[in-house]
Amino acid sequence: MTDAALSVSAAPDARSSLPVRALRAVASRLVIIVPYAWLLVFFLIPFVIVFKISLSQTAIAMPPYTPVLGFGEGIGGFWSQLKELSFENYLWLTDDPLYFNAYLSSVWIAGISTILALAVGYPIAYGMARAPTALRPTLLMLVILPFWTSFLIRVYAWIGILKPEGLLNQLLLSTGIIHQPLVILNTHTAIFIGIVYSYLPFMILPLYSSLEKMDYSLIEAAQDLGCPPTSAFWKITFPLSLPGVIAGCMLVFIPAVGEFVIPDLLGGSQTLMIGRTLWNEFFANRDWPVSSAVAVILLLLLIVPIMIFQSAQARAQEQSK
């Protein structure tokens, strides 16, 4: 189909004059430039600035680091400023086990949350994909609906639910299931609940889209060939939904690693996560260089899953052709 579309659009091109063709070539380049320019201005340049700060030394000044690069003292001055930059902050990060533990704990918490979100999201997405066609837009709407309320307010609401005298404990106590209030708030459990709740739509939507386009006759074919329903799910449905599983997991895992608000509000003071460490370094210690180094390492840490995500997306697109 794409071939046909290509040849159709190419045909009038071949017949048009040279200046028109040249103009079109420029125009098509311009279209590509827009996203690249966006990434350059809002991603690459800020990253270079952060990276530069991570190589600087902290100072009691405005801005709170040195050297501040500039051409005030000519090219030679700029060169000597550059020489002051060092990887000392990165070495400092390896010295103090705090940072290593924070990274590890972030990855661990994000990993567990992702698995939980998958376990909760998959049945929901599956149910939605098998629901009557007329009902699906409504179900999709319901999944997206929480986004209409502020994220922060929804996380605060969880404090009200989870705290010792909160709604959940009152309910469980009044029904007699428990006799002592459960301690959930300010534990990892609360963080898991918060992350799973907040990021669930990001898990459900890609799962739903991959399950929804699956041909149900494949399941019937598997059953026809002697495969009971449960086994057909693991042999056919699940492998075919893998692109959705990978996309959903990455969409939850990547932001969850750097999550700050949820561990801060629900996890209590003893929770060590890299988002909080970064916030502390930046605002409490005013150590911009070290917090920049923390941010750069975090980014490098996340590049691996992002690349897995991208190659999975590319493969999924290749398959759907």
Binding site: D215, S217, L218, E220, A221, A222, Q223, D224, L225, G226, C227, P228, S231, I236, P239, L240, Q319, K321
Partner: protein, 379 residues
Amino acid sequence: MKSLGSIRRSFAPWNDPSAKPYISFENVTKVFGDFTAVDNLSLAIYEKEFFALLGGSGSGKSTLLRMLAGFDNPTSGRIMLDGQDLRGIPPYRRPLNMMFQSYALFPHMTVEANVGFGLKQEGMPKADIDARVAEMLKLVKLEQFAKRKPHQLSGGQRQRVALARSVAKRPKVLLLDEPLGALDKKLREETQFELMDLQQSLGLTFVVVTHDQEEAMTMADRIAILDKGQLMQVATPAEIYEAPASRFVANFVGNVNMFEGTVASRDAGIARVTGASGAEIVVDNAGDAAAGNAIAFAVRPEKIKVSSKRPEGAVNAMEGEVYDLAYLGDMTVYRVRLADGQVIQASALNSSRASDDPLTWHDRAWISFQPDAGIVLTR
């Protein structure tokens, strides 16, 4: 080839009162919401038969197949396979396999894995699976495509993978849902004969669902014509074509001219029928049509002769005007409009290179047919 033909001719268990049906639908009804897909239908299919379910969309033919496969259950009535009631037996325990209209090949598995899927479910040893898969791929001439994924194959190749997969388990019955529907005309014709050979060589019972009457006529031993969930007729292709049971069947299979009228008189098998316009025709084999009955005399186009003059001694002849004409090479199709406005279709085989009685548009022409050229239909 000759011996094959003779086997086919002598194969007619439905005429043998002592033969036991292999598959039987007994008063089966299937209701979806307020839609009755299959309406109190009974049908017997015999072992090693090539049976076609033919009907338009919504005729219930696919529902019958799905009930046989176990994907739907009858609302009432029962389906028997080899003396066993199939009720409550899930699809994965039924000794029959289905070839899906969409082929339903598993996109994440190679051709090999697709064909071997059912065998693996059975717990067959790997060496045996490999041998059987190789045998199946050889049967459908796809040996060199074993490692490909379905999306790397052409439509015709996919169809053959689906076929190989559905016969790999050596089912007793193979169900085929529009098996040739997605193929182009030439490939479809070739594949029809391949399917017939396969059915003969494996000795399987085939139940095929199709909306294509030509396909059904070519391949099937017997055809069931369905309409609105009811059985219209079950018979061999020749019987369906030459002796349709009703106007619906006559119209559904092939082209037909209907001479509607009332039986004016009856003398043994011969009846005189008066049409609405007053024209009279004489028909043979009037069956149980009595004087005063409204009947239709159905005559196939190739049994009607077209000539520029009234043929001498013709019993049934009517004059009209050549309204349309199509030269198809091997034959010419005439559409002749009679005085009462009815358009009659007649086809003449071009057995010699030049016609001795050339007719063209707007010529006056006579159509004629023998009293036994058609069949009297009361329904």
